[in-house]
C-alpha cells in the first residue's frame, strides 16, 4: 500500500520534476511557497494536468508512458481551494452527484437516507444535516468547503487529494474546519495528500511531509523527522520548529496548566481541555527556544530541560544560526544568535539546558 509518483512537466517559466514515494495511509502534507508546483503536482496525480511520468496507487497503474487513466476513471476524491460546488444543485444534489456515479449503475437511495451505506455517517461527520436542502450560494465559505469535502468522500475514494482547502477561508472559518479534518484523519482509513503553504496546518494534520521548492520535492519523510532536519528549516523561516507526540499526565486546576510527557521529558502547557492520558501533538517553534550552559531557576520560563547539541546550520540572516538539539528520543530546534553560539561554545555533543518559552498543543 503506497503511492509512487514521478512527474515531469515543463511550461514556460516553470518546470515540475517530482519523484515521490508516499505512504499508503495517513496524511501526507505537500508543503511549499506559492508557485513551487505543489498544486500542479496534485493536478497531475488527479489527471487534470497531463505530465509525463508514472503513477502507481496501491499497486494500481494510473499512468505511464502508454497509459493515461482519465480523471473520471481514477478512484480519487479532490477538494479544490474554491469549493466548486455545482450552483444549480442543492447541497443534497451536490452530494448525490459523485456518490451515484461512483456507485455505477447500481440504483442508490438518497444520500441522506440510511439505506445508503456511507452517506449518513459522512453527513454526520461533517455536520451537514441542516444544510442539505440549501443552494450553494446560501452557504458560508466554511460550509461550502465542508460540503465539498463530503462530496469527495462520498465517491468512496481510495485517495483523497486536498488543494489548500482552508486557504480561501478566514481564521475563524479555518478553526471551524480543522477539527473536521482531524476527525477525517482519525476516523476514516483513506490516505490523504494535503497541499498547503501554512506550516500550522501541516504541523497539526500531517503524518508525512513533502517539501517542494522550484518544482522539485526537496525533502520527504515522516513529519517529526523531516521538520527537525536542519537543511529545511531555512525554507520554513519563522515557522521552523519541532513537532512531536506527547501524553497528558496531569491537569492542574489551580494554574490551568497541564503536564505532558514525551520521549525525553515532561513539559508544562496551557490546559486546553485534553483529557488525562490523551495523545496530543506538541509544537515548539525554534524562535521560542533559548539555550543556557547551566540551569537557571530564576526565570519566568517554566520548561527547562537538559539537552545535547547535535548540529547547527546557517540561517537566512547572518546573525542567526539554527541549532538542532536532542532531548532523549526527541529532536528540537533552537534559533540563537551566532554571537551567543560562540560565547556558549555550542559545539556538537555539548550538554546544555534549553528554555522553552512557548509550547503549543495542536490536535
Amino acid at each position: 500500500m503506497s503511492i509512487r509518483a514521478r512527474f515531469k512537466l515543463a511550461w514556460p517559466g516553470f518546470t515540475l520534476d517530482a519523484d515521490l514515494d508516499l505512504p499508503g495511509r495517513g496524511v501526507t502534507a505537500v508543503f511549499g511557497r506559492s508557485g513551487c508546483g505543489k498544486t500542479t503536482l496534485l493536478r497531475c496525480i488527479a489527471g487534470l494536468e497531463r505530465g509525463a511520468g508514472r503513477l502507481d496507487v496501491h499497486g494500481e497503474h494510473w499512468q505511464d508512458e502508454n497509459t493515461f487513466l482519465p480523471t473520471h476513471r481514477r478512484p480519487l476524491g479532490y477538494v479544490f481551494q474554491d469549493a466548486r460546488l455545482f450552483a444549480h444543485l442543492s447541497v443534497r444534489g451536490n452530494l448525490d452527484y459523485g456518490m451515484r456515479r461512483a456507485a455505477g449503475a447500481v440504483p442508490q437511495g438518497d444520500v441522506a437516507s440510511h439505506k445508503s451505506s456511507h452517506g449518513a455517517p459522512v453527513i454526520e461527520l461533517l455536520g451537514l444535516e441542516p444544510l442539505l436542502d440549501r443552494l450553494p450560494d446560501r452557504l458560508s465559505g466554511g460550509e461550502q468547503q465542508r460540503v465539498a469535502i463530503a462530496r469527495a468522500l462520498l465517491t468512496a475514494p481510495r485517495l483523497l487529494l486536498m488543494d489548500e482547502p482552508l486557504a480561501s477561508l478566514d481564521h475563524a472559518r479555518k478553526q471551524e474546519i480543522l477539527p473536521y479534518l482531524e476527525r477525517l484523519r482519525d476516523e476514516l482509513d483513506i490516505p490523504m495528500i494535503y497541499v498547503s503553504h501554512a506550516a500550522d496546518e501541516v504541523a497539526r494534520l500531517a503524518d508525512h511531509l513533502v517539501v517542494m521548492e522550484g518544482g522539485r520535492a526537496v525533502a520527504q519523510g515522516p513529519l517529526a523527522e523531516t521538520l527537525a532536519r536542519l537543511d529545511l528549516p531555512i525554507r520554513l523561516g519563522e515557522d521552523a520548529g519541532a513537532v512531536f507526540a506527547a501524553t497528558v499526565i496531569e491537569r492542574n486546576a489551580e494554574w490551568h496548566l497541564a503536564r505532558v510527557e514525551f520521549d525525553g521529558g515532561e513539559l508544562w502547557v496551557r490546559d486546553s481541555g485534553a483529557a488525562m492520558g490523551r495523545r496530543v501533538r506538541v509544537r515548539i517553534l525554534a524562535r521560542d527556544v533559548s539555550i543556557a550552559n547551566s540551569r537557571h531557576d530564576d526565570t519566568s520560563i517554566m520548561n527547562l530541560l537538559p539537552a545535547t547539541v547535535m548540529a547547527h546550520a546557517a540561517e537566512d540572516h547572518p546573525s542567526a544560526i539554527l541549532v538542532q538539539l536532542r532531548i532523549g528520543g526527541t529532536a528540537l530546534l533552537a534559533r540563537v544568535t551566532r554571537r551567543s553560539a560562540q560565547r556558549l561554545d555550542l559545539a556538537p555533543g555539548r550538554e546544555v539546558w534549553v528554555q522553552i518559552k512557548a509550547v503549543a498543543l495542536i490536535g
Partner: protein, 232 residues
C-alpha cells in the same frame, strides 16, 4: 372607416411566421450549441475565423446574405445541385429555403449568448465533475447545460424574435408567396404598398407589442449578473 382587415391572409402570414421562427430556433439550438461549445473551449487557430463567419450576419445587409444564399441554393449552386440530386428539389421560394436562410441569418443571435454562458462557466465545474467520476459527455449534460440555462433562454428568445423580424433575406430567398413564404414582415410591406394602412397597423402594432413582450420576458427571466457560473 377603413374596410375590415382581410384576417385570413393576415392569420396565414402570422401562422407561417411563428412556424418559421419555431423551426429555425429549434434547429439553431441543435446546431448552435456544439458550435458555441467549440468556440468557448477551443484554443485552435480556427476560433477567430469561425467566430467571424458566425458573426457576419450582424454586420452584413440582409440582401447580401439573401443574394448569395439564392446563388448557392439555386440550380447552378453547389447546394442547389445537391438538393436536386437528393430529390428534394430547389430550396429557394419554399418554406425550407426560408428555414435554411433564417438559420444562417439568426445564427449569431443564438450562438453568441450560449458561447458567453459556456465561457463564463469555465473549466472549474467541469474539472470538479471529472473528479466526481463524470465522463466529459456526462459533465456536459449534467453540469455545463444546466449552468448555461440563462444563456439558452437568451439565445432562444433572441433567435426566435430575430427570425420573426427578418425581411430582406426572406424577400430575396422566398419572395412573397401567400401561405408558403409570405411572412408578417413582408405582408406589412404589401399592405403599405397598397395603401392599406389599417391592416398594416394591425400587423405592425402587433409586432411592436410582440417584440416588447419578448424583450420584457428576456429581462425578467434573465436579470443580468445571474449568468451561469459555478458557485465559488
Amino acid at each position: 372607416m377603413p374596410s375590415l382587415p382581410n384576417f385570413a391572409a393576415d392569420l396565414g402570414a402570422i401562422w407561417l411566421t411563428l412556424k418559421l421562427a419555431t423551426v429555425t430556433t429549434a434547429l439553431l439550438l441543435l446546431i448552435g450549441t456544439p458550435i458555441a461549445w467549440w468556440l468557448a473551449r477551443t484554443r485552435s487557430w480556427w476560433k477567430g475565423p469561425v467566430g467571424a463567419v458566425v458573426a457576419l450576419p450582424i454586420v452584413l445587409p440582409p440582401t447580401v446574405i439573401g443574394f448569395y444564399l439564392l446563388l448557392v441554393m439555386g440550380p447552378e449552386g453547389a447546394v442547389g445541385r445537391f438538393t436536386e440530386w437528393a430529390g428534394i428539389g430547389l430550396l429557394p421560394f419554399t418554406f425550407w429555403g426560408l428555414v435554411v436562410a433564417s438559420v444562417f441569418y439568426s445564427m449569431p443571435f443564438v450562438v453568441q449568448p450560449i458561447q458567453n454562458a459556456f465561457e463564463a462557466i469555465g473549466d472549474r465545474p467541469l474539472e470538479a465533475a471529472a473528479t466526481l467520476r463524470a465522463s466529459p459527455l456526462d459533465a456536459f449534460f449534467s453540469v455545463a447545460l444546466p449552468l448555461a440555462k440563462p444563456g439558452f433562454i437568451t439565445a432562444s428568445i433572441l433567435g426566435f424574435a430575430h427570425t420573426v423580424g427578418e425581411f430582406g433575406v426572406v424577400l430575396m430567398i422566398g419572395g412573397n408567396i401567400p401561405d408558403k413564404t409570405r411572412v408578417v414582415s413582408v405582408l406589412i410591406y404589401d399592405h403599405v404598398e397598397a395603401l392599406e394602412y389599417a391592416q398594416a397597423h394591425w400587423l405592425a402594432g402587433g409586432m411592436v407589442a410582440f417584440s416588447f413582450l419578448v424583450l420584457l420576458a428576456l429581462y425578467t427571466l434573465n436579470p443580468s449578473g445571474r449568468k451561469g457560473t459555478a458557485s465559488r
